[in-house]
C-alpha cells in the first residue's frame, strides 16, 4: 500500500486511455470520425435472421475489418470487450501483459453487461432444436453475463477486483461509478472500466414486444420519435489517479470527477414521468464532483428515442438545470450508434471524453443545426446538436446520463484536462 493510500485522501481520477467497438467499427478512430459525420450506423443487419421481428434495423459491429481477438471461447461480446480494453490500455501507455507470468494485483476490472453471451446461447438452442449435431456446449457455457469483464481480466492479466454490474441500460455507467470509487479510495491503482453487449434475439424480441423500437433509425428528443434502435459494442476507459498518470508522463484525456445513481422505485420498464429519479442521480453526481449545475457545458443524454424515456429525461434536465435546460447543448449518441444496452453508459462516457478532448460535440442526423424545435408540440424544446459538429472549445464539464429499466438511473461527470486546471475537485475533501 502506497503512502498516498495510507493517507486516505480522495484522489483525483484521470481517464488515461479509451477504447471502443461500435457500429462504426473497431476502435475510437472510426468511432469519432463516424460520429462527426453525423450519419447513422443504424441499418439492416445480418447477425441473425430478424425477418420475423417487427423492426429490421440495428447498428451492427462490422466483422472482419481489423484483427479481432480470436480466443476460441470468446463470445461476440467478449471480443468487443477485449479489443476495446487493449486499445484503452495501449493509449494509456500501460503494458498489456499478453504472456504475463503473474497477475497484476494493483489493477481491477469493472464491467457492465446486460446479456453477456446470450447470442451464443441462442445459437446453441437454435442448433439443438434444428440440427443437434451442430449444437456446441461451449456456446451454452458462454452465456454468463460476467463473460466480457472476465475475458478482459484474463487477457490483461488483471489480478485485482474483477466485478460485473448488470443493471440493464445503466450497467456501464454504474460500473464506471464503482471503478471511480475504487481508484479514489486507493483499493486499486488502475481500473479498466466499461461495458460490452452484443446483438441478440432476446433483447431484439423483448423491446419489440414492448413496442419500444422505432421502425426507422431512432430520433431521440425529436418530433416523431417512436422508439429506440439497437446497437452493440464495447467501450473501456482506463482510470487511474491523476498524479500517477502525470508521473508516468501520460497526458490525461479528461478527469472523471463524479458519479451518482438513484432509483425511480416506480415501474419494471417505464421511467417515472416526473424525472425525479433521473434528476436525483444527476444531482448526486454533481454533488460528488463538487460542482454546481451551472458548471455543466453539455449533456450526453441517455436519449433512447422512446417517447417515455425522452419525456422523463427532459423533465429531469428541467429539474436540475431549470430554464437553462433549453440552452445546454444535448448530444444524442444513440441516434448514430443505437442503444448498446449494458454498454451504453460506457460508450457514451467515451464519447463524452472525446467531445471534451476535441472541444467539439458530435451531431445526430437532422436537418436543423443546433436549433430548438419549439414550434412542434412533440419535440422537446432542447438545444439538440444536429446535422453538423458543434464547436465548443471552452467546454470544461459534461455529464452523461444512463436511465435503465427498473428505474435504475446513473450519471457521470467528466471535466476536460488542461494543465492542472481541470475542475471538479471537491474542496477540502481529504
Amino acid at each position: 500500500m502506497s503512502d498516498e493510500r495510507a493517507a486516505g485522501s480522495m484522489r483525483r481520477v484521470a481517464v488515461s486511455g479509451v477504447g471502443a467497438v461500435s457500429g462504426l467499427g473497431w476502435g475510437t478512430g472510426p468511432l469519432w470520425e463516424g460520429l462527426r459525420s453525423g450519419r447513422t450506423a443504424i441499418r439492416p443487419f445480418c447477425r441473425f435472421d430478424g425477418s420475423l421481428h417487427r423492426t429490421h434495423l440495428a447498428a451492427e459491429v462490422p466483422m472482419g475489418s481489423p484483427p479481432e481477438p480470436a480466443e476460441r471461447r470468446l463470445t461476440m461480446a467478449d471480443r468487443f470487450a477485449v479489443f476495446a480494453a487493449r486499445e484503452a490500455m495501449g493509449q494509456a501507455g500501460l503494458e498489456v501483459p499478453f504472456d504475463s507470468q503473474a497477475a497484476d494485483l494493483e489493477t481491477g476490472v469493472w464491467f457492465g453487461s446486460s446479456t453477456g453471451g446470450m447470442f451464443e446461447s441462442e445459437r446453441f438452442f437454435h442448433r439443438f432444436v434444428s440440427d443437434r449435431r451442430r449444437s456446441r456446449l461451449g456456446d451454452l457455457a458462454a452465456q454468463q453475463v460476467n463473460g466480457p469483464g472476465d475475458a478482459v481480466a484474463r487477457d490483461l492479466g488483471v489480478g485485482g477486483p474483477v466485478q460485473t454490474v448488470s443493471s440493464a441500460c445503466s450497467s456501464g455507467a454504474l460500473a464506471l461509478g464503482a471503478a471511480l470509487d475504487a481508484v479514489r479510495s486507493g483499493s486499486v491503482d488502475v481500473a479498466v472500466a466499461g461495458g460490452s453487449d452484443s446483438l441478440c434475439q432476446l433483447t431484439y424480441a423483448g423491446f419489440n414486444a414492448l413496442r419500444s423500437v422505432d421502425e426507422g433509425p431512432c430520433l431521440p428528443f425529436r418530433a416523431g420519435r417512436a422508439g429506440m434502435s439497437f446497437g452493440e459494442g464495447a467501450a473501456v476507459l482506463v482510470l487511474e489517479p491523476l498524479e500517477r498518470a502525470l508521473a508516468r508522463g501520460v497526458t490525461p484525456l479528461a478527469e472523471l470527477v463524479g458519479a451518482g445513481s438513484a432509483c425511480d422505485a416506480h415501474h419494471m420498464t417505464a421511467p417515472d414521468p416526473s424525472g425525479a429519479g433521473a434528476a436525483a442521480a444527476l444531482t448526486a453526481a454533481l454533488a460528488d464532483a463538487g460542482l454546481p449545475a451551472d458548471a455543466v457545458d453539455f449533456v450526453n443524454a441517455h436519449g433512447t428515442g422512446t417517447p417515455l424515456n425522452d419525456a422523463a429525461e427532459w423533465q429531469a434536465l428541467r429539474l436540475v438545470f431549470g430554464e437553462r435546460a433549453r440552452t445546454i447543448p444535448i448530444v444524442l449518441t444513440k441516434a448514430i450508434l443505437g442503444h448498446l444496452l449494458g454498454s451504453a453508459g460506457a460508450i457514451e462516457a467515451v464519447v463524452t471524453v472525446l467531445c471534451l478532448r476535441h472541444g467539439e460535440l458530435h451531431p445526430a442526423p437532422g436537418e436543423v443545426p443546433g436549433a430548438a424545435q419549439t414550434g412542434d408540440h412533440d419535440a422537446l424544446p432542447a438545444f439538440l446538436v444536429l446535422d453538423r459538429p458543434h464547436s465548443l472549445p471552452a467546454a470544461r464539464t459534461a455529464v452523461s446520463t444512463s436511465l435503465a429499466f427498473g428505474g435504475s438511473n446513473a450519471a457521470l461527470v467528466f471535466s476536460r484536462w488542461s494543465n492542472g486546471l481541470a475542475g471538479g475537485l471537491k474542496s477540502g475533501s481529504s
Binding site: R73, R133, R136, L137, G138, A141
Partner: protein, 86 residues
Amino acid sequence: MSEVIAVPNRIKRLIVESLHLEGIQPEMIEDEAPLFGEGLGLDSVDALELVVALEKEFGIKIKSQELGREVFSSVSSLSQFIAGRT
C-alpha cells in the same frame, strides 16, 4: 486389424467435427499427443462435448473421472479403450 487401425482416424474426425476446430485437419492430430492443456489444447467444455460425441459414436460409457482422465489423454489411449470394448 483394419477396424482397429480405422478407429484413431474416426476419433480424430470426431474431435475436429464435434468441437468445430477451425483450421485443424484430422490428420494433423498426432496419436500420442496430449489432447488437453498442451498438444491440441482442449479444455473441460471440450471434454464434455467429446464424451457425449464418443458415447454416441462408439456406444462406450466412461464410468469414472479417473478412468476418463486416463482414457482421454490421447487419441491412442482413446482408441485402445474403444478397441477393447468393441
